[in-house]
Amino acid sequence: MTLDAIDRRIVEATQAGLPLCATPFAEIGDSLGLEGADVIARLVKLKERGVIRRIGAAPNHYRLGMLANGMSVWDVDDAQVDALGAQVGALTFVTHCYRRPRALPDWPYNLFAMVHGSDREEVQEKRAQIAVLLGPACRGSDILFSSRILKKTGLRLRRKEG
């Protein structure tokens, strides 16, 4: 998947956020010497290619009352993990869901699902729902609550020369 120079400039111009004005795409275009319609056409293409997943708001979980988050981790039968992972990812309270390699013997878990809730009890209830969904294909699980953010910087596209 490659981005041309104009795509990259659009990514750079929008990765901190869109201008909050009536015509945000025209404003981005102004800053790049493009028409608003060109910016929209490029964004449509980037979405079709999956480079952009959606355009919208990133909510602040904490401010919206979701005070607890736990990384739930599961040891799921390899033959079933992809089918079950898709079902776990579709749960409304799971915000991220990935298959990752195990690190045996200390780490038997191959499915990671981030769960948010108003408190730890609610997160544990949601974890129990995942356990029911996984059923006997799951041989073990754990949950890792975060106690502190040690660093948080947004992922940023590196500037390329030229």
């Binding site: 990765q15 869109l18 795409f25 355009i55």
Partner: protein
């Protein structure tokens, strides 16, 4: 606390987590659906952003599609050394975010680099600096549905 959310704010937050229409006047289109004037959509969105209910409003990029490599990593850090190790790990600009978690693996961070080889380079640097193994948990498959909170 700056202000409480009213029902309109909540409806707006929920709608704004869905896709913004790619049209000349996207906020007018959202306002139509919620029976709000465009100017009020914008003034409320600006306030929600300023007050921190929304941390960012814009495109969500698939990080891997932009180029570069990413890897979730974990370390098991002795309590007594924790702050020293945090400083050493966070000093690497490739560490995008880092969380303390309650587990034998008590430090979890994401490395973001230009390519897969650099993931290895940085992970080995951190191991050399701290004397602690950096476990690599690269994403093998993502089950992506969305990232949504009911306000």
């Amino acid at each position: 606390m700056t202000h409480q959310l009213d029902d309109t704010d909540r409806a707006l937050i929920n709608r704004l987590q869905d896709d913004l229409p790619l049209t000349d006047r996207p906020f007018a289109a959202i306002g139509e659906a919620l029976d709000l004037p465009e100017s009020e959509v914008l003034s409320r969105l600006t306030r929600l952003r300023e007050d921190g209910f929304i941390t960012r409003f814009g495109p969500f990029f698939d990080a891997a599609a932009l180029g570069g490599a990413f890897c979730l990593c974990a370390m098991s850090v002795p309590e007594a050394d924790f702050e020293t190790v945090v400083t050493k790990v966070n000093a690497h600009p490739e560490v995008a975010h880092n969380y303390e978690r309650e587990h034998a693996f008590n430090m979890w961070f994401v490395l973001a680099t230009e390519n897969a080889e650099e993931i290895e380079t940085v992970a080995r640097e951190i191991e050399a600096e701290t004397g602690i193994a950096v476990r690599r948990f690269p994403k093998e498959r993502e089950f992506y549905i969305g990232f949504r909170v009911a306000a």
